[in-house]
Amino acid sequence: MSGGAHVLVVEDERNVGETLAERLQAAGYRVTLAASAARARLAWRAQTPQLTLLDVGLPDGNGFELAGELRAAVPQSAIIFLTAHGNPEERVRGLELGADDYLTKPFHFRELLLRIQNCLKRAQDLAELPGEMRGVVRIGLAHVDFERFSAEVDGVSHALTHKECAVLRLLASRVGKAVSRDEILDRAWSADEFPTSRTVDNFIVRLRKLVEPDPDEPRLIRSIRGVGYLLTEVLRD
């Protein structure tokens, strides 16, 4: 199941980090262990991780800020936050920053393994682009590069999270047709997460801010009452 994927473990607690690294290696992953934000930066520059397990409290920085840097530097890497703080505000913040998942300590290793597999599978699905999605496509104001997980608006580049990419890609693959909220949830979120239809709406609001000339009067990503959303136009650059 692992396929020898490269996992970067950023964890400052030595016992937790070492045991995680050993157990992931035993499960067939290639693992790099970094005990600080500085070492994590060196690690992802040396070798691109397919997935990063990121502790929120680091001795030389905040895991949330590091996630932003990682997202910009290595957009294809999936991120799972590991934290001892399980309050809802932090969880939401982590997911908004582009984390693919969020696991509260103490966790069961099998659960972590399952989530890693799900994240890697989603990342792989995103990497397998149909021909019409390769290169840069234009959606409203944004020049979107699905391969690089980025969108350029007015010359400014924005890193897209995996979920934003998944939602936008799903809509772009059905231009002119309505996509239901349930289908969006099915395709972009895994079964072990518990998002609501409201979660999809929040993602759409963020995507509209990126692509719509006037997000308050959306013309590109339109709401279809009682169904979901419809993307009206995708252009090749």
Binding site: E13, E18, T19, R23, L58, P106
Partner: protein
């Protein structure tokens, strides 16, 4: 009433509580201002009436004039005292509210940190235990389990000690000979941190015994060493301990080779105070300072980036010879 049994004041939602307090504060301030306005109006009216009556009576009778002046002073004095009292009570209530609010925030931060401190070794213990259950029989796993269980024990001990000290729990002071005792105690504490901790001691030959609670001194040393191990973030933590007699006191200096911190002075021993990159719960150094004060001594902390952490512990020297 029964329906609410078991629900304390903590069950009141913070937003609702804040609104209630804001409402009560507004009512109180409105009451104070109304009373103040009413009293000033009354005062001006009384003063005017006194003045009119005084002019009607004429200035011939000096005894009557003196009585009018005395009455006026009394009215002005009483009014001023009353208004000042109201203002003082308002200020006191405001200060109490601010202090309680700060304490509540500190408690919240402590519980968040305390939970973090429990969850982290618990995560490690679970990971090791799961590995063992799946057939991994490495001694290293047992070593990690031991280290994590020590960390849990220490956290629980610190919390219990904090509760005891804050509740005014007594200390049992006696004559404690530092030579020999210090060596044994520190060695056993350092051993719980593995071979990565090296302690060097330089004690004066003529070092007198100290008047202290041995268990409290043990807790102090354990907290200092734990602090060094946690914040030094080095493979090898070196601690230098020196002790010398000084004018009826015994000065114990503790210095580690850690990274140091920019946090200074009293902030280092503030209850629930935690540095930006600190992983602690903000209890360890507070306990060191408080226990030293309770034993009639003093603890001062110094640190600077790149210069490690230094603690000066000043004990009272014992007049009696320690029991051998």
């Amino acid at each position: 009433m029964n329906a609410k049994a078991g629900q304390g004041s903590l069950s009141v939602l913070p937003a609702r509580r804040t609104r209630l307090i804001a409402f009560l504060a507004a009512v109180w301030i409105a009451l104070v201002l109304s009373l103040g306005a009413w009293w000033i109006t009354l005062l001006v009216r009384q003063a005017r009436q006194i003045g009119e009556l005084q002019s009607l009576a004429g200035s011939a009778d000096s005894a009557v004039a003196a009585q009018w002046a005395s009455t006026r002073r009394m009215v002005v004095g009483e009014s001023s005292v009353f208004l000042l009292l109201l203002l003082a009570v308002t200020a006191l209530l405001g200060w109490l509210y601010w202090r309680e609010n700060r304490r509540a925030r500190s408690m919240q931060a402590f519980f968040a940190a305390f939970t973090h401190e429990l969850r982290t070794p618990l995560t490690s213990i679970r990971l090791q235990a799961e590995a063992i259950a799946e057939g991994d029989q490495r001694v290293e796993l047992a070593r990690r389990l031991l280290e994590d269980s020590n960390r849990l024990e220490s956290q629980i001990d610190k919390t219990l000690e904090l509760a005891r000290i804050e509740g005014g729990g007594p200390l049992s002071e006696q004559s404690v000979p530092l030579r020999g005792w210090l060596d044994r105690t520190l060695s056993s504490i350092a051993a719980t941190h593995g071979p990565g901790v090296e302690v060097r001691m330089h004690l004066d030959d003529s070092l007198p015994a100290i008047l202290a609670d041995a268990a409290a001194v043990q807790m102090i040393l354990r907290n200092l060493l734990e602090n060094s191990v946690r914040h030094a973030r080095l493979e090898r933590v070196q601690v230098r301990l020196t002790a010398r007699a000084l004018n009826g006191k015994v000065l114990l200096e503790y210095h580690d080779n850690g990274a140091g911190t920019a946090v200074q002075g009293r902030e280092l021993g503030r209850l629930f105070g935690r540095g930006a990159a600190s992983g602690g719960s903000g209890v360890g150094l507070y306990l060191v300072r408080t226990l030293m004060q309770r034993m009639g001594g003093r603890a001062d902390f110094y640190s600077a980036p790149g210069e490690g952490f230094r603690a000066e512990l000043c004990f009272t020297a014992s007049a009696e010879e320690p029991a051998s």
